[in-house]
């Protein structure tokens, strides 16, 4: 358990809703949920999550901190926005889900080997190198995330897709050597670093 997590448990001991409101992006909306259930019923992935959004919101209010932050539910959101479009109270449900995921990550509570969380990290690291996503390297890192043998298997299974992407100029073998990027990569990295510092300071101040 991270120090930040321990500190947050201490501070918000009995009020998880307050913790979410203070630290989770769009978290202040959670209390507006009227438990109608339209989001859960409208979610195309609904049957596959541990807790649909409506339940997550009620769990937040009920103080079920551990269950919420370590659940895989918010990681299962595909950002289809069906829930946001239909919510009678216009809660930005998709954004709250991503906010919860981000917060759980900052506290080190992401469930182990959660594939979406792993992919997000790979995507982020890939993008941060050049300021652009290197499709070839992204694909390869994803294939090989579970070891070399599995990587070869994955690559072979998706061979046709890869070839078609190359044909359609969506991906280039040349990307393997460096690859394309933004003009001022150092500038971008500096900017993101500053943003991360601001975010971290905000969290620190809320401790």
């Amino acid at each position: 358990m991270s120090d930040m997590n321990t500190a947050m448990v201490e501070k918000y001991r009995s009020n998880f809703l307050k913790e979410v409101e203070a630290n989770v992006e769009e978290g202040q909306w959670v209390k507006m949920c009227m438990q109608c259930g339209v989001c859960s019923g409208s979610c195309p992935l609904g049957p596959y999550w541990a807790h649909p959004p409506q339940e997550i919101f009620m769990m937040i209010r009920a103080g079920k901190r551990e269950e919420v932050l370590s659940s895989d539910s918010m990681w299962m959101c595909t950002s289809c926005y069906n829930c946001i479009v239909r919510c009678p109270r216009e809660l930005p449900i998709t954004h709250i889900m991503h906010g919860l995921a981000t917060y759980a990550k900052k506290l080190g509570l992401v469930p182990k080997n959660q594939p979406t969380a792993q992919f997000s990290q790979i995507f982020w690291d890939n993008m941060m190198k050049k300021g652009r996503v290197n499709e070839l390297k992204l694909g390869l890192s994803l294939y090989f995330k579970d070891g070399f043998g599995q990587g070869i298997k994955n690559a072979l299974a998706n061979q046709k897709l890869g070839m078609n992407m190359m044909k359609a100029k969506r991906m280039s073998a040349a990307e393997f050597f460096g690859g394309h990027g933004v003009k001022d990569v150092a500038g971008l990295q500096k900017m993101i670093k500053k943003a991360e510092e601001i975010e971290a300071a905000k969290l620190e101040a809320n401790k």
């Binding site: 009227m34 109608c36 259930g37 019923g41 339940e55 239909r86 009678p88």
Partner: protein
Amino acid sequence: MTEVVATNETILVVGGGISGMTAALEAAETGKQVVLVEKRPYLGGRVSQLYKYFPKLCHPTCGLEINQRRAKMNPNLTILTMAEVTGLEGEAGNYTATVKLSPRYVNDNCTACGECAKAVEAEFDNEYDYGMSKRKGAYLPHVMAHPMQYVLDPRIIGTDDAQKAKDACKYDAIDLDMEEREIKFPCGAVVWATGWQPYDAAKIQPYGYDRYENVITNVEFERMADPKGPTGGKIVRPSDGKEAKNVAFIQCAGSRDRNHLFHCSRICCMASLKQTHYVTEAYEDAQVTIYYIDIRAIDRFEDFYQKVKAKDNVTFTKSKVANIITDKDGNPICRGVDTEGYNRYENTHDLVVLATGMEPSVTKADFPVDIVINREGFIEPDPANGAVFAAGVASDALDVNRAVQNATGAALKAIQVVNRVAGAEG
């Protein structure tokens, strides 16, 4: 009949539904001169289309009859049907109203014998049954219409049907030369009682009102339950006429939804509880499911709710249905997740009734006069409105009981203004 004698001590009432009738009668019975303007060919508005009232489950025709009798007996009341207020100029105590009178093509000689309707062949959707039945091009809007006179649909004018109707009339009551007219008259205060219309259910895309025959609205269901209605009081499925024994009600269809209506329409919970009685009384093996966010049965309505809840064959599911699909037999299937256990459900029903909410029947842009409207589209009480006072559902979503109380209050406001005018002119 269309010569209106009025002064700036006259009260103009716009809308002849239950609220407008109430305001007009209350004011007229205090001795004030009142002109009541109604767009439809008859008084009574949407209340006349109800089968039963909640919570007593008595028939609205009873109260309407009393009101119609009061209207007939009162010499202070002038009623203009098929009339619309198109302009209102001036200020409190001194307005000039412009009213457009559409031709009825039938004069006061009409005895409602019905010979014209027999002669006419053309048929149109019956607005009284929300288009669920047909009526002739010459028609009596409903059996208790006031005034009790037939109407010729303007769409048959110029066709052979019009002449057939005229030839069939033994009382010289049909006048095909009637034309639209505009009249102006003074008034001192205005009671605005233009009421409501059901929210357009087709806009609630996931419920498929426009795609599925067996998904209907609560106002349509109300007509269906009425023995004078399109199915003769039989609760059946529109798609195949099969008995609808397993009926679902979906509450807050449009209401309390920022994508549709901001407000709670206040009547739909009680309307669905009332309509549950229609189903359980029609079929011994009925099954009713009410999908709800929360049941808003206030004050004495709580008893009514508890009694419905106690019925074995009524299920309350705390959940707003996410979407409706249908199976190959046209059975609507309600899908969603309930709030009591977060269970995912897919329930098949014979018929789904959407408890659609009320929206004001006049939109902001269509008011012929400057008036303060709130976010929900209802008229706000505001000094800027001068002597224009909202009554009934023009002011807020109300049930009949509260609309009538509200209209009586509006009548009093209007009386105070014309009394001031009378005092000044003394």
